[in-house]
Each structure stands twice: as C-alpha cells, then as structure tokens.
C-alpha cells in the first residue's frame, strides 16, 4: 500500500514538474500581433463552432463510459 502511495505521489510530482517547465517555457514563446493572421483564422480556433461539437459530444457521452477533457474556447487570435 505504501509502495502504491509513493508511486502515485512520484507520478503527481513528475506531472507537476513537467507542467511547470512547460508553463515556464510558454513565456519565451512570443508571437507578435502582426504574426497572427493564421492563428486568428476560425480554422485555427479550439472549440470553434461549439454547437456542432456539442451535439457530437452529447451523443458520444451517452455511448461511452468516459467524459471530460474536451476543448475549451481559445485560440490564437488576441489581435486587439
């Protein structure tokens, strides 16, 4: 049991460390507003056309045992 707990804690710490490193590196990624033409396009948006996606996920939720982890709104615009 103790071995299992240590295993879970080690996994959680590893995940947190990885996420922290990734988050820290995010600050180095700078895309200037004038470079966002492609990112601002609707095809590059996450959760774009949410109603269409919602109908599909509604059907899948009722046919599968898992849920969550779906898209949230967001993308590359931020032009203004």
């Amino acid at each position: 049991m103790k071995h299992l707990e240590m295993h879970v804690v080690a996994k959680a710490l590893g995940f947190l460390l990885g996420a922290s490193l990734l988050a820290a590196s995010a600050g180095c990624a700078t895309v200037r507003p004038e470079q966002r033409a492609m990112l601002a396009d609707p095809t590059m948006q996450f959760d774009e056309k949410a109603a269409d996606r919602a109908a599909l996920e509604h059907a899948l939720d009722n046919r599968e045992g898992s849920t969550g982890g779906g898209s949230v709104r967001g993308g590359g615009c931020g032009c203004n």
Binding site: V31, T43, F46, A55, G65
Partner: protein, 425 residues
Amino acid sequence: MLSRMTPSTACRSGAQLALGGVLFGLAVAFMAPSARAQVASADVNTALFVEPSTRSGLTVINPSATVAVKPSNWLTIQGGYEADIVSGASESVKGGRLSNVDIVTSATHFSDTRNAFTGGFTITRASTHLSGSYTYGTEHDYRSNAFAVSAGTDFFQKNTQIELSYGRGFDKVCTTAFTASDSPSTRLALDNSQGCFTNDEKRASRDISLDNFQVGWTQTWTPVFATQMVLSAALQNGFLGNPYRSVVIASAGDQALENHPENRARGAIGLRGKYYVRGLQTALSAGVRLYRDTWDIFGQTYELDAERYMLPWLRVLVRARYYTQTGALFWSDDYTGGEPATGPRGQYWSGDRELSPLSSYLVGARALATREGRPGQRVLGLFLSFSGAVSFDLLKTNLRDFTLGGRAPDDTLAMLWSLGLRGEF
C-alpha cells in the same frame, strides 16, 4: 435520463415544445436590435441521432436555439433552449451468456422529451472574462438544476490563455419506492414514469449531486502552431444507475434493479495541437485524451481532423476518432455464473454497456458556409454575417464483452446529422 433510454407512457408533444423554443429564440433575436443592443447573435441547430436495429433502435432529435445580446461592450447576455426528443425501443432486462431469460422480447417501446432552458452572462474586461449560467432541465423522470461559472484571462502578449470553470448540478431521478434498508437484490425497476414527482407512494425521488471542475490552457507557440491542454475532474454522488433496467442476478432467472456504487470520481486530461500547413492551406489538428475513474474505467481517445477553405466562403472539415476503454471493476456480462469471466465481481451489478470494455471508430465531415455583410449592406438585409453548417458522422462501436442473453447487440452503428444556422445582427 434520456441517456439511459427511458420509457415513458405519457409522451408529451416534444416536437411542439421544441418548435416553440426555436420560434421564441428567433423572436427574441429579431427583437434584439430594437432593444438597442449593439450586437446580437442567434444560433439555431438541429441534430439527428439514429441507431438502427432489428430489435431495439434509437432515434434522438436534438433541436437547440441560443440568443446572445451585447447591451454594452463589456456585457453579453445569453439565453437558450434545447430539447432531446427520444424514441425507440430498448431491452429492460440485461442477462448475459448464461442467463436463461428471454432478453430480446423484453424490448419495450418508449418516447420522451427532455427540455432544457439556459440563461447566462459574460463580462469581458480587457484580457479577462467572467461567465455565469444556470440551466434547468426537465423530463418525466428526471429534473436537473445546474449552475456554472468560468473565468479566463491571457498572459504573455496574449500568447497564453487560461480558463477555469466549475459547475454544480442538483438533479433528481425517479425510481420505485425502495428504502435504503431494502436489500439491493429485492429492489424493482420502474416500468413507466407515471406518478414520478407526485405523491404516488410507489414512486420515490432520489438526489444526484454533480461537481465539475475544469482548467484549460491554450498556448500559441509559433505563427502557425497552437496547443491546448484541458484537465477535468468530476464528482458524482447519488443514484447513478438506470431506474428502468433490471439485471439477471441468479441462475434461476431472478432479476433486480441495476445496482451501481453511489459515488464516482472521474478525471481526464486532453491534449490537442493545431498546425496550419501553408503549402496545403489546411489547418491540421491532433488530439489525445486519457480518462480514469474510481469505477476503474480507463479510456483513451485519439482524434485527427483537417479543415480548409474550398472557396473563400466555404470551408470543409473531415475528422476521424478512435476510442477504447476498459470495463468497470464490477462489470460482468453475466452475474449468474460464479467466478469471472462469467460471474459477479463484488456487490454491484450493471446492464449498462457503457461500463463494459469497448472501442469505437468515428469518421465525419462538416461543411460550413459564411456570408459576411458590408457596412450599409447587410446579408439578406438583416445580418452583419450569416453562416450555415451541415455535418455527418458515423460511429461504429465494438462491444467486447456485452451480450443480450448471449447474442451480440446489432445496434452498434450510429449516424449523426447536424444542421446549424447562425446570424449576427
């Protein structure tokens, strides 16, 4: 409860309600400009889900309408209506390979309608937004009240976006009137929804509480590459089975109401990337989602899609998805046979195929046409912009350990059509 394919004897005229909701939404939208709204939008969607079968089958029509108005630059107010109009037939008794019970002829026809009404707001200030919403859903055997709040902001010259959300649901489900002291093996399933949420002493209302947490992180890395990570957690407590479904639990054919644990904690992580391929003028997207819960279901989802403009006003998306999951810890195709693999696994029993080990494939496509107006020249004389989308998806499920009295179900191929219209004023 529609997700559990509930029968109902007193079928309400769902189509009328749905049509009324859609017309109401449109009416509000058209009135919006006279309410001095600076910007308003209306979305009307209809989805049709069909799962054909020689013995059971399922059809779901899902109309929805959403209206949003912006009385000021920082405030958006939304209202929406959605319905699930369900009809078909399903087996009310689940038995497995060893069950000496006629499962197939237990399929009963049913129809029901879920109506859901939503209201909410979004406040936007500089790079931060805050949203709140309330949804009320009702059907013959189920009531739901749900609150949700979310907040988001961006950092690093808008290259990083964080979104936090929390939702709380207070639901009620109708069951037969058993008490906590009654042995689960003596509890009976509902055979119809008559008397639900009334003083009928043969019916009981049971609570379900739902908590949902979500964190989303969207990151742009280059002018053509962005990623998104979403962490979700959910806690469910209450009656989590299907009140209509019985399970054969003894070789003599004894049946009892499906008996699931009363608590379930669920977690998922989704990772997605979008990359714009200049040479192909196409946006490619790939995603993976891992899921785990305390019922020991481990799910994996892999998705790919590609979208490009075929014409300046028309874009087309194609998508593919693969999903696989393990069964719940207490899942067994047959609870009468002694030891696994054909016997009970603990104190619970289920006839829900969503809890069995399965995999599925999905392929689909969507076409979306958009027409933008110009200053002083609105589309159809009314809209600043107008768009219409149509999509089709095909879902094939492979049930690895689920039978109905030893026979594999034939309702494993599903089709989903969707039509959506959006206008901005």
